[in-house]
């Protein structure tokens, strides 16, 4: 059977409850905005295949529950993520402040070379804005992470975000392959920090 993609990237959406993670994902995967919102319980993912430099990239994007309480289950999915979208809501100061905590979470549970990106969502709601674009940019610069303001509702920068993250992963990958594939070499591949540092309550029940 013909394969429909060249690469598979696993992405993860994290951020406080209600910032619009599921809506961003829905906009990106279905190009639609559902006004009948529903909170995410547990975890789910959607797939969209995009094309970058003539290569078909299958993006497997995982959507998580935002509430602190669910981190025991959601952090289990950090491992293996190649890219993480950190989402806050520009109309909600707290969700912006929490980005720092989410970054700390990534550092604890995800692979250290995971590509990250910060999104300030709901930028269509300028009248209710609590977090200026400048503050978002500054935070991103402080962490050395790319940043975009998005609107899932008005379809602003959603495509751009996922394409940017995908491209960054691709770049890292190519760099790694070049590093690891010296001319004439045929040895084993070196992987930077490939082991994750996760802990998982749910997994320690066996054996």
């Amino acid at each position: 059977m013909a394969k429909t993609y060249d690469y598979l990237f696993k992405l993860l959406l994290i951020g406080d409850s209600g910032v619009g993670k599921t809506c961003l994902l829905f906009r990106f995967s279905e190009d639609a905005f559902n006004t009948t919102f529903i909170s995410t319980i547990g975890i789910d993912f959607k797939i969209r295949t995009i094309e970058l430099d003539g290569k078909k990239i299958k993006l497997q994007i995982w959507d998580t529950a935002g509430q602190e309480r669910f981190r025991t289950i959601t952090t289990a999915y950090y491992r293996g993520a190649m890219g993480i979208m950190l989402v806050y809501d520009i109309t909600n100061e707290k969700s912006f402040d929490n980005i720092k905590n989410w970054i700390r979470n990534i550092e604890e549970h995800a692979s250290s070379d995971v590509e990250r990106m910060i999104l300030g969502n709901k930028c269509d709601m300028n009248d209710k804005r609590q977090v200026s674009r400048e503050r978002g940019e500054k935070l991103a610069i402080d962490y050395g992470i790319k940043f975009l303001e998005t609107s899932a509702k008005s379809s602003i920068n959603v495509e751009e975000s996922f394409f940017t993250l995908g491209r960054d992963i691709m770049t890292r990958l190519n760099r790694k392959m070049n590093d690891n594939n010296p001319p004439g070499g045929g040895g084993q591949v070196k992987i930077t920090e490939s082991r994750s540092k996760k802990n998982n309550f749910f997994r320690c029940t066996l054996l």
Binding site: D6, S17, D44, G80, Q188, V189, F202, R203
Partner: protein, 669 residues
């Protein structure tokens, strides 16, 4: 490949990795070596061999699946029925970052023995072989995959940790158990101390028992089947050794004889005789046929009226519950009957008493409601807990059942009630506060009650049942997932093995089902039906776990046939939402309950989960949880010291005395 009689591969698993620090200096870098682990019987000596693949990772093959479309498979999708020792070329695609550089392995099978010498030094650096007799312990850890750390008796020799990226560690340990006695270290339950079979022969039964003494009850509760199967393998080893006698170094064992013996002392066991490998595996308990059951009609208003005396007490509650269990309630009755089912109203209360209760509860409700209503903005600014709760509740109320007419639109009063009840619940149980999912549990209650106070108190009762699911550590969720695992394993070992082989044995995909009791899986009205049936407490406790089993039983064929991996299983299960037929699901759940109930040799742990024998537990005796006398074994319970005389594992998480054999043998698993 023709089997060499003096060199027999007992087990083989590919996709076993060594993560070696390359010592590169600047950045911590890992060298990833892929290889295979084998258990080989070489002239009676059992060896563990690890060999790297010839080209562990061929960079020319990396991430270039497009060149060879057949070479890419998603991680964890390998066919279940592919033998672990399959020698055909196996390509795999790891979707995870840390494996991304190893997407496609070109594997050339190493021949046995000296062939390995032809490989490059670099690869051979990672190969190792040792005799099981030299093995001191195996430590098992989980990190998404399992990895094993071997410690030899010769302490100066250290071996690299083996990572079973493609599963197979449990099977490896099972195979190892057939040639050695593994027992849990008293200090570290992840550490299995190894004694070889020969040594096991010389060990007394006390040792076996001692093994079981350490954390047995604890282990049984956590994972009865792993525990018991492990335990059983020790007994089979013992029996093999006993039968083998002088016939040493020969792995041909008398399977029929052992099977007969085991079958005689442990009725109901099925013994799977694997002629070629020379040992037996106790596969499963014979559950018998699943009975056909019928669903009934919903309880009618006439029936309900007949069950009340003149003062309003409810009569013949068991019968009433039975009818409700079989067919649910007609919608008109829900508003009344749910209050009884949830325990808000006592069944034996009179109408007058209930009115008084409602008055008191109304006062209590509004007193608590006033508490958060009267918090000023200034106070709220200094109360982050309350602020956080409020913000979460507002967010969730706006996205709970908004397509239901009761909650649709912008200024629907249903939304205000939902909000106010949840806020008041925060004041009622401030330690718990608000956790996502609670709005899903409240919504149907409010819909049925159409009354703020009554919905609140019914919600309080429902939350009493569900509380642990939402607590900080989510202990309720963990317990239920483990219990569900036990049930699934009992019902269909093959399906369970499949789930485990796809790293899905933790049953994450049931998380949403259990957290909010199928609220998102069924249509709104089917949720009402399921919940009222569940609240009857019939036909056993934890019916919702059997509902999970019922749904999975209907899906397992597809999951296995389509060879779903971890991701696909989750996706498939998530997408069952709104496609389930509640009556069919309930019918099968009841049938499964009856099937399990009818099983004579039911593991005690399973009886505990379903509450089949709660009355038999003797308080104070640490063994009582697993030694409650059963109808089939009327022999008096020996004291704990007596157990030292003989211990057999029966393979089913069940400690059980046998009266059938006169020498006072206990069955310890």
């Amino acid at each position: 490949m023709a089997a060499d009689t003096s060199h027999k591969v007992l087990f083989e698993q590919y996709g076993v990795f060594i993560h070696a620090n390359s010592g590169d200096g600047c950045i911590e870098q890992d060298l990833l070596v892929s290889g295979s682990i084998r258990l080989v019987d070489k002239d009676g000596e059992v060896l563990v061999e690890y060999r790297p693949l010839e080209d562990s990772v061929d960079p020319s093959n990396m991430l270039c699946a497009g060149k060879d479309s057949s070479s890419v498979m998603e991680w964890g999708q390998s066919p279940e029925d592919r033998p672990h020792h399959g020698l055909e070329a196996q390509h795999s695609y790891e979707t995870e970052w840390d494996m991304v550089n190893a997407v496609s392995f070109k594997k050339k099978t190493c021949s046995n023995g000296e062939g390995a010498l032809n490989h490059s030094h670099e690869r051979n650096r990672w190969a190792f072989t040792f005799s099981v007799g030299d093995l001191s312990s195996v430590t098992v850890k989980m990190d998404g995959w399992s990895y094993l750390f071997f410690k030899l008796k010769e302490a100066s020799v250290s071996l690299p940790t083996l990572h079973f990226h493609q599963g197979g560690s449990a099977e490896f340990l099972d195979s190892l158990r057939r040639c050695a006695l593994l027992r849990e270290s008293p200090e570290d339950e992840r550490c299995l101390l190894v004694s070889t079979a020969n040594r096991a022969l010389s060990q007394s039964f006390e040792n076996l028992l001692e093994d079981n003494n350490f954390g047995l009850v604890h282990k049984l509760k956590k994972d009865p089947y792993v525990t018991t199967l492990g335990g059983f393998s020790k007994v089979t080893n013992y029996l093999f050794d006993a039968f083998r006698g002088a016939e040493e170094q020969q792995r041909r064992r008398p399977p029929e004889e052992v099977a007969d013996l085991l079958g005689e002392v442990i009725p109901g066991l099925e013994i799977n005789q694997q002629e070629e490998s020379g040992f037996e595996v106790i596969t499963r308990i014979d559950l018998g046929v699943r009975p056909e059951v019928q669903r009934g009609e919903p309880l009618s208003t006439e029936q309900w009226a007949e069950h009340q005396d003149t003062e309003g007490r409810i009569l013949n509650v068991p019968h009433l519950k039975q009818v409700i269990f079989k067919g649910g309630l007609c919608h008109m009755l829900r508003k009344d009957v749910w209050k009884f089912l949830l325990g808000y109203f006592p069944w034996d209360s009179t109408l007058e008493e209930r009115k008084a209760l409602q008055r008191a509860k109304t006062d209590e409700y509004f007193r608590m409601k006033l508490q958060w209503k009267s918090v000023s903005e200034e106070q709220e600014r200094r109360n982050s807990r309350l602020r956080d709760c409020k913000s979460l509740i507002e967010k969730d109320v706006n996205r709970t059942d908004r397509t239901n007419r009761f909650y649709e639109g912008i200024d629907n009063p249903g939304l205000v009630l939902l909000h106010d009840i949840l806020m008041t619940y925060c004041m009622f149980d401030f330690d718990l506060g608000y956790v996502q999912g609670m709005s899903d549990l409240l919504s149907p209650l409010l819909f049925v009650m159409e009354n703020e106070v009554e919905a609140f108190w019914c919600f309080v009762s429902f939350m009493d049942q569900m509380h642990q699911n939402f607590e900080e550590q989510m202990q309720g969720m963990k317990t239920q997932l483990v219990q569900l695992g036990s049930l699934l394993r009992l019902l269909d070992q093959k399906f369970w093995n499949y789930l485990e082989s796809q790293d899905s044995g933790f049953l994450y995909f049931c998380f949403r089902w259990l957290l909010i009791r199928f609220k998102r899986e069924l249509s709104f009205h089917d949720v009402l039906r399921l919940w009222e049936v569940m609240w009857t407490g019939l036909p056993c406790q934890n019916l919702h776990l059997l509902v999970c089993c019922s749904i999975l039983d209907s899906e397992k064929q597809k999951i296995m046939e389509e060879n779903y991996g971890f991701n696909e299983i989750l996706k498939h299960v998530n997408e069952l939402s709104m496609k389930l037929d509640i009556e069919e699901v309930l019918r099968k759940a009841e049938a499964i309950c009856l099937q399990i109930k009818g099983c004579k040799d039911l593991p005690h742990s399973v009886s505990d989960i379903l509450g089949f024998n709660t009355d038999e537990v003797t308080a104070g005796d640490p063994w009582s949880e697993v030694t409650a006398p059963r109808k089939t074994s009327p022999a008096p319970s020996p004291s704990p010291t007596d157990r030292g005389q003989g211990a057999f594992a029966n393979g089913h998480g069940l400690l059980r005395e046998s009266s059938q054999n006169g020498c006072g043998v206990s069955f310890v698993s």
